[in-house]
């Protein structure tokens, strides 16, 4: 399943990555090479095979409902590129 330049742009947009116009060809070519390579998987008969999403297949362990963390906005905001009045700040979000 080869992708074209438009598809590459669309995928890049979904991932919020910019692909410069002059890199588009190269990116697309490389992308298709990788896809062609992983398509070898198609040879394997996986009928009736359960997918394995993780090696950890035990049941999840649940946490007790206790408040441990909090009142640490200084630490939460310590690495913020922009902050004010205890908030993270970003350019205006408009919908």
């Amino acid at each position: 399943m080869a992708v074209d330049n438009e598809a590459v742009k669309q995928i890049a947009y979904l991932a919020r990555l910019g692909v410069e116009e002059d890199k588009l060809e190269e990116t697309q070519r490389e992308f298709n090479k990788i896809l062609a390579w992983v398509e070898e998987l198609g040879e394997v008969d996986t009928n009736g095979v359960e997918p394995m999403f993780s090696p950890h297949e035990e049941n999840i362990l649940l946490r007790n409902d206790e408040v441990v963390e909090g009142n640490q906005s200084d630490k939460i905001l310590a690495n913020a590129p922009e902050k004010e009045f205890g908030y993270f700040v970003v350019p205006k979000v408009v919908e």
Partner: protein, 484 residues
């Protein structure tokens, strides 16, 4: 003593406990070595003052007899582990100024056992790479390099190089597709990727959550056992952490391996396998036989598909794991005229080429219409790969294979950089283990005709690191590899 940094962890501990040397003395020796070996670019952040403070505390504990299992041992930490108040970057521009306000469980465990941290070690950006060349801070130079600068392997290249060049006694690494084992092999050191769930992932910057696993890189097998014992254990902060007891790994070293069944998978000897590597493999098999082990031929029929399987699953998980780097709460931001532009500008400028490539592939294989054909298919093939191991382990106790199909290559090697796939192919012997969640250890087997280290790998059953340690220790004794 000029050769303090050449001591193994267990040797240092012996001298520290006998008060022949002091933690401060030891730390100073490493700080000196660090300065001498800057050319290897192994560290991206060093904290010598902090290390000396820790060493002084350690000294007090030795004086009062309250010393802990790894007290005064000087370690380097892969810069993928979050360390409180010490810059943690994943060697990416996008968070090159990030200072965590929390400590990863693994590094906390090491601190609790008295370890001294000298600094943060170089790696491929977000651990994506097999040569350390994708690091924002530039590639690590393999200490075994002669005329040409060679790669240290990756992603834990800084860890392997630092241990190899005596810039720390041991280092933490992480292994998602071979990132502990391959650089260990390239740099002539020993590293173990434990069973998935053995070490907590809390505070370890995620690459591919179902594959990532932390482990130690050390000078020898015993050190790996000591360090892993400190790093491992159930952690309630990681829902995938295993509720399994951690045995005293050191106690298995030196145990007799007569009758131990060692599996040799046919599929790991493809046509065109490097002859030197094939010969060393045979040599290792002979050595194990001499120790009384029984050699069993096994088959891992889906081996061929492990690489494509890995290169679907790992990017898929990564594409999602790396979505949090959006320039809002931490890391670098590149503004734009609206939020969308801010996101795109921040991520386009902050991520390197290989990381972007994997995010794109991962985004694609998870998209509706492609999910079943790529992602779901890969997870099914993964099950078959795991089933292969389950079958094989009915016939043997541990599996022996080469770690890597090649030796360390030149930084900027033309063929490797021609296509990403050429680089991916180097992971052929390591990725299956991550897909199946199994433990595996790489140790040096000897030098190539170019004078470069080569590694062998023992793969064990899930949570059976002890058998790996038992077998590796015996092979190590037979090999008697000469470190730098």
């Amino acid at each position: 003593m000029s050769n303090l940094t050449e001591l193994t962890i267990s040797e240092s501990l012996e001298k520290l406990r006998a008060k022949e040397i002091s933690p401060v003395e030891l730390t100073e020796a490493y700080i000196k070595k660090l300065e001498d070996n800057k050319k290897y670019n192994a560290y991206v952040t060093t904290v010598p003052e902090k290390a000396l403070e820790q060493a002084k505390e350690s000294e007090k504990r030795y004086m009062s007899g309250a010393n802990k299992p790894l007290d005064g041992i000087v370690l380097g930490i892969k810069d993928l582990f979050c360390t409180k108040d010490i810059r943690t970057t994943a060697c990416s521009k996008i968070i090159d100024n990030f200072v965590p306000q929390y400590e990863s469980t693994v590094t906390q465990n090491l601190l609790d056992d008295g370890a001294v941290f000298l600094g943060k070690l170089n790696l491929d950006e977000f651990a994506m790479g097999g040569s350390n060349e994708t690091s924002y801070f530039g590639p690590v130079v393999n200490p075994w390099s002669k005329d040409v600068k060679l790669v240290a392997g990756g992603s834990s290249g800084g860890s392997a190089a630092a241990v190899s060049a005596n810039m720390c006694a041991g280092a933490t690494g992480t292994d998602t597709g071979g990132s502990i084992r391959q650089p260990s092999a390239f740099c002539g050191v020993t590293g173990i990727k434990p069973t998935y769930g053995r070490c907590s992932r809390y505070g370890v910057i995620a690459f591919a959550s179902s594959l990532d696993q932390a482990g130690p890189i050390c000078k020898d097998v015993r050190d790996c056992a000591l360090m892993l014992n400190s790093m491992a254990g159930f952690d309630e902060k990681d829902a995938t952490s295993a509720r399994v007891d951690v045995p005293n790994f050191e106690s298995f070293l030196g145990q007799d391996i007569r009758g131990l069944k060692i599996g040799i998978p046919n599929e790991y000897r493809p046509d065109g396998l490097n002859e030197e590597i094939a010969n060393y493999w045979d040599k290792a098999i002979e050595m194990m036989k001499e120790k009384g082990a029984e050699i069993v031929n096994i088959s891992l029929p889906h081996t061929k598909y492990a690489l494509p399987c890995y290169y679907v699953i790992a990017p898929a998980e990564a594409s999602s794991n790396l979505a949090r780097y959006d320039g809002i709460r931490f890391g670098n931001r590149v503004n734009g005229k609206n939020m969308e532009e801010l996101h795109i500008n921040t991520r386009s400028s902050g991520f390197g080429k290989e990381v972007k490539r994997r995010i794109l592939v991962g985004t694609y294989v998870l998209s509706a219409g492609f999910y079943d054909a790529y992602y779901l298919k890969a997870q099914k093939v993964r099950r078959l790969i795991k089933n292969d191991f389950d079958e094989a382990f009915k016939k043997c106790d541990v599996i022996l294979t080469p770690t890597s199909p090649i030796e360390a290559f030149a930084i900027g090697d033309k063929k490797m950089n021609e296509s990403p796939i050429n680089m991916y192919l180097n992971d052929v012997f390591t990725v299956s283990v991550n897909l199946a969640g199994l433990p595996a250890l790489s140790l040096p087997i000897g030098l190539s005709k170019n004078g470069l280290p080569l590694g062998m790998q023992f793969i064990g059953k899930a949570f059976d690191e002890k058998t790996i340690f038992k077998a590796s220790y015996q092979l190590e004794k037979s090999v008697n590899f000469k470190r730098i």
